[in-house]
Amino acid sequence: MEKFDVIIVGAGLAGLGAAYTLAGQDLEVLVLERGDYPGAKNVTGGRIYVNPVRDLFPDLWPSAPLERFIVHEGVVLMAKERSVAIDYAGDELRQEPQQSFSILRAKFDRWFAEEVEAKGAMILPKTRVENVIKENRKIVGVRAGGDELHADVVIACDGALSLLGEQAGLHPPETPHNYALGIKEVIALPGEKINDRFQLQGNEGAARLFIGEVTKGMFGGGFLYTNKESVSLGIVIGIEDMMEKGGNLEAPALMEAFKARPEIACLIRGGVTVEYAAHLIPEGGFKALHPLHGDGMLIAGDAAGFALNMGFTVRGMEYALASGYYAAKTVLKAREAGSFDAETLSEYGRLLQESFVLKDFQNFQATPSFVNNPRFFSHYPELKGNILRDIYSIPAGPKDRLYPTIRKYLGLGEMWAMFKDFREVTKI
């Protein structure tokens, strides 16, 4: 039987963030990763916001293999036959330090893992953790690849399904309600073409979210992020909606229909798909967070539910990194105290509470129910599209006055429904 100080399950951003923080502290730290290499099983949309985690990992960012810094933020309301787009660009987005970057996780995580190893933690890839080992209700290690590995504390960073937390009895098996399915293609395109098509220069990048017809009225939407020499294009669909309202719609076909939209087709023309991926996304926000610790165990990253749909953007990676960091800090304190019981490890929750992580989740706890309003996924895109169609339409004869053109869509019933929908914003 092998005994370590800390076992970290999963070499994603939470696990690597924890290992990086613990490495070089005279601890035996083992990271177990089921992929061929760290990053092999990891998928993002994706874009990472660096500001919240810059100071937690100060040495990491200067040489990090990020893709492009985002200077265009777009939202596109997609109706069946038209769309309405907003594009925000500003000098502030260009100024250093830039706040957000597109990222490809297989590349980033592999590099991050090398940094972690250079600091002295051990990473064991190609090793699947089968179960936790419990003694008197305390987690004392894991079974992995047929071996029993013991540790003072296990940090579960095993991703959105959170199987370890379930095995440890910290939470029941997950259900469709709080999760969405993300499907993504990485489409290779020359950097020059990307710059021309998205109005970018040098290493600038664009982010664009799509809502409406993409998901045929179901919860979710589309996303596009420009990388250096590729575009990450994908859709997100609420799993419960897909089960209940999906009818005969096939998820892979929704992705193809999205790509075929004129708003998308011309952006990826001539591009070559080089990878097709799918991943679960926690969408439940604060109310769906898992218990964060137990006797001998901490949970971080997606496994804890640390992904947050803020409406105008979706975030996860910086919460994963920060929760890994605070899990590591908790372990260091617990080591000083000489105890890894639930009471000592509850420090983790306190640290997260004081950090941006739980503050964000609390402040945005109303967003999951706000964005889970079916009217956002069909009614509003159609309504705005129709209003703009009529405003911009110039008939052969005289054009109608502007006010009645708009007013005919905004009867009392519609105004009242809009008021009720957007009143919810006051809770965010």
Binding site: G39, L104, P173, P252, M255, V274, Y276
Partner: protein, 94 residues
């Protein structure tokens, strides 16, 4: 790029490492479960197919390991695990 891309062709772009036995199995007697039938539409890799008799079968090759079927069907319908270490999809971009 072709106008619409076949799902098999897309999966053919990914790197899969063979090995181990199927990590997800339909529990005997559950083949007609309505949740399984939904996976015929939801699985992003199109691995579940439903026969005319309403029986669902699963081909594990091409599994993207997203976990959606575990949420949709539950472990009373599926015997569900990740593939063994070093087996299955290995993303090069992610």
């Amino acid at each position: 790029m072709t106008e619409t891309m076949d799902l098999k062709a897309k999966l053919g772009l990914d790197v899969f490492k063979p090995g181990g036995e199927g990590h997800i199995k339909i529990r005997p007697g559950k083949e007609k479960d309505s949740r399984l039938q939904k996976m015929g539409l939801i699985c992003p890799a199109g691995l579940y197919s439903v026969s005319e008799q309403g029986e669902t079968s699963l081909t594990i090759d091409g599994c993207l390991e997203c976990g959606t079927c575990r949420l949709v069907c539950g472990t009373d319908v599926l015997e569900w695990a990740y593939p063994e270490g070093g087996v299955g999809v290995q993303f090069r971009f992610g």
